[in-house]
Amino acid sequence: MYLFLKEKWEVEGLQTVGILLVVCSSLKLMHFLGLIDISTPDSVEDDFELSTVCHRPESMDKLQQQTKFTKKELQVLYRGFKNECPCGVVNEENFKTIYSQFFPQGDSSMYAHFLFEAFDTNNNGSVSFEDFVFGLSIILRGTINDRLNWAFNLYDLNKDGCITKEEMLDIMKSIYDMMGKYTYPTMQDDIPREHVESFFQKMDRNKDGVVTIEEFIESCKKDESIMQSMQLFDNVI
């Protein structure tokens, strides 16, 4: 270093700069390690930000008019809802956690995601009690057409009015994942694809590769076992 720095003050100046650098970097290192705390007034974090947004549902009378549940049923539903979501809305993570507790042996996160999309009718990322109860009202107390409509809405992932084979495959895989590995007989990996094929064979009347809402409702109404299963929803609550 002394080869090209002739003047004394240059040497000294460089040494001073070096010392300052060492001191500053060691202070920064100690701040980083948490030994000391250098904070300016602006950088103090606000720890008390309210991170959850609360929501209060509409009055019970209004809900009773809009859905087909009785007052007692609404009370039972709301108590269960509020127990798990004290702030009045469910976000997707919470929804998945709750749903996975009913299906512990499988991976129900994808199916829960599709369900969440179907319940969240206004697409704001959270399901309030009204959304919850409207959806349940359609499934449990609606007409056959309403229910089939709702199921079609669930399957139609991009909400474009028709179900493609890829959408159906996603749904099928999520259902099989949810059932888990403990099915009898054990599932091979290509079973979902075969299942999708048979579903399309049954539902797709004009063989154009997609299932529209009319084809879906028509085919389901013609199927005995589906109609029989639909009756079960009357007694759920």
């Binding site: 127990n83 709750i98 009913f102 749904i171 299963s229 929803f233």
Partner: protein
């Protein structure tokens, strides 16, 4: 299944609509649960405090008292309530367990009373939530230790038929049990004090003789000090050998801290005896005598407080180590800075970084 989500069961059943149209066979009929019965309020009367909850809340845990039919034994027909003659404060946390699924341990509650309540209501303590589990475990451990201490104090009753060896060990460990032990205790204490005192006085200048200036007392009255030293070392050796003989596990005794201190205290004397003729090593031998100061640590057998100090240092050893480490870091940084700052000046005393360590240490510890 966690109890809290039982309210979402209708939702889970309704979600089955998703796989129904793709199912190949019709869905099986759902089990007809007895939830058709209207949910009713149950009144639990605990020593006059009325707690009310839904029946389904209590039914979440059917293997506890309140969740099973065992509570029918406490049903009072006249007042139509379930009456429990227990502590209402503890009952509060127990009822909250049914409501939230998490059992909390209230801090102001006595640990044994709380345990009894849990056992009565059939709840196992292991399900205490993470938030309160440590506190619960700590309190339980403290309680157990206190009980053990009490038991040990009551063990002063001399059990019959102890061998001579066991009697001696007991006398050494708990001196207040017999008079002989007490005498021995005080005698050894006295001799430790004498020994330390002689070591100190040995170095005091004693006044001049005709031909030499001030010499320390140790060189003036060599014989007297030697006799004193011999007597003390003999007492300590006898004590150490007796303890070694009486110890139930000799290997463990020899490894213990107190016995190592004993050995280090008497070793310089014997080494001195063996090597006092050789002039070359006498310099080292003199230095060895500094180890005689370890005799003062023998007092820790006599003083509980000193032992507690030792335990305290041991238990915060990691914190002290960290303090030392951070001091060293700061010393090195500042010494380096000082060295390079003073490098230009020719009359600087900081000839190298280690040379500036001394300056840094002295300044940081505010000695100046």
């Amino acid at each position: 299944m966690a109890s809290g989500v039982s309210g979402w069961l209708p939702f889970a059943r309704a979600a089955a609509i998703g796989w129904m149209p793709v199912a190949n066979c019709p869905m099986p009929v759902a089990p007809m649960a007895n939830s058709k019965r209207q949910d009713e309020l149950i009144i639990l009367n605990v020593s006059g405090h009325r707690f009310q909850t839904w029946r389904t809340t209590l039914d979440r845990y059917p293997d506890t008292l309140l969740g099973s039919s065992e509570k029918d034994f406490f049903y009072n027909e006249e007042i139509k309530e379930y009456f429990f003659d227990r502590d209402p404060d503890a009952f509060r946390s127990i009822l909250n367990f049914y409501r939230t699924g998490k059992l909390h341990y209230p801090r102001q509650q006595c640990i044994t009373a709380y345990d009894e309540e849990l056992i009565f209501f059939g709840i196992i303590p292991e399900i205490i939530g993470d938030c309160c589990y440590e506190e619960y475990k700590d309190r339980k451990r403290e309680n157990l230790e206190r009980l053990q201490d009490d038991q040990e104090e009551n063990k002063d009753m001399k059990p019959p038929n102890m061998t001579c060896r066991e009697t001696m060990w007991r006398a050494f460990e708990t001196p207040h049990t017999s008079t002989m032990a007490l005498v021995f205790y005080y005698v050894t204490g006295f001799f430790i004090a004498i020994s330390v005192l002689t070591n100190v006085v040995e170095t005091v200048p004693c006044g001049s003789t005709a031909n030499q200036k001030d010499m320390p007392c140790g060189e003036r009255y060599t014989v007297a000090f030697f006799c004193m030293d011999t007597a003390c070392v003999m007492i300590f050796t006898v004590e150490y050998l007796l303890r070694l003989f009486a110890a139930p596990s000799r290997y463990r005794f020899m490894r213990s801290v107190m016995s190592i201190i004993d050995v280090v205290a008497i070793l310089p004397y014997y080494i001195g005896l063996v090597m006092s003729n050789n002039e070359d090593v006498s310099g080292a031998f003199v230095t060895l005598r500094v180890f005689r100061v370890f005799r003062i640590f023998k007092f820790s057998r006599h003083s509980q407080g000193l032992r507690i100090l030792g335990y305290t240092l041991k238990s915060c050893a990691s914190e002290l180590g960290f303090l030392l480490f951070s001091l060293t870091m700061a010393i090195i940084i500042f010494a380096t800075v000082m060295f390079y700052a003073e490098k230009g000046s020719s009359s600087s005393k900081f000839t190298s970084i280690p040379a500036s360590f001394w300056y840094t240490i002295v300044t940081m510890t505010t000695l100046g």
